[in-house]
């Protein structure tokens, strides 16, 4: 029976966004985001209520995986620019 971690290397990649931005954006899109005060663990549930992914603020390097998971489940990312047409002219 396989044990996790038996495969060897474990690495992480640098963060590409900051956690508070993701939390604020997800909430604005109807996602249910719960931040545990004691552990700092952030739990993301889709607007339907289904748990999708979680993340610990102490591990910012994991944010790329969180964003990929949320995006795969339907969260638009990155957030659109406030006024893209103005910025583009």
């Amino acid at each position: 029976m396989a044990e996790p971690g038996a495969s060897g290397p474990r690495t992480c990649t640098p963060a590409i966004a900051d956690g508070p931005t993701v939390v604020t954006w997800a909430r604005s899109q109807g996602w249910q985001v719960h931040v545990a005060r004691d552990t700092g663990r952030v739990r993301f549930a889709a607007p339907s209520g289904a748990f999708v992914a979680s993340w610990t603020e102490a591990d910012p390097t994991r944010l790329a995986d969180v964003l990929t998971a949320l995006r795969r489940y339907g969260l638009v990312w990155p957030p659109p620019a406030r006024r893209p047409r103005t910025a583009s002219r």
Binding site: S7, G8, I16, A69, V76, R85
Partner: protein
């Protein structure tokens, strides 16, 4: 071969929806023990791992086997539907690419093209070169900003 960091992602289809508590338990175990990341997808779940290696051809396959064996402890009827490995740079670039392109209404299109709204409406009905809208809402059609810019450039030529 040079050492590089790869993102490995496996997607499984699961016939019965995993309960939240079970999925959270799996995610916690995988992350604490192996550094793998588990999340829910529309049809099942995903497991991803970051791997630094100078032999991705050998190492990634070995990790796939370990992840698969681990998952089988929890889910018996899971079917692997996608297996993907990309470099760290590609993974970051994908996240930076918007999955929703900038959109423009009739009023936006008029501004981008430097004409009146009426002119836009006229182009819509009379010009075969005018881009097709990608969506329609109660307020009217929506175009991608990029398609309108392309139309503008075609006018300038």
């Amino acid at each position: 071969m040079m050492t590089g960091t790869w993102r490995l992602e496996l997607l499984w289809s699961v016939p019965r929806r995993l309960r939240d508590g079970r999925l959270e338990h799996m995610a916690a175990e995988a992350e604490s023990a192996a550094g793998w990341y588990v999340a829910r997808t529309r049809t099942g779940l995903s497991v991803s791992a970051w791997v630094t290696t100078d032999h991705p051809d050998r190492e990634l396959g070995r990790i796939v086997e370990h992840i698969t064996a681990w998952l089988e402890r929890y889910v018996t009827e899971a079917h692997l539907v996608s297996l993907r490995a990309c470099t760290e740079a590609e993974a970051q670039a994908e996240l930076a690419r918007p999955d929703l392109p900038p959109l423009a209404s009739v009023a936006d299109a008029a501004q981008i093209l430097g004409v009146t709204r009426e002119r836009v409406q006229q182009w819509r009905t009379e010009s075969r070169a005018f881009p097709a809208p990608v969506a329609r809402v109660a307020a009217g059609p929506l175009w991608t900003v990029e398609s309108l810019r392309y139309f503008r450039r075609s006018l300038e030529r």
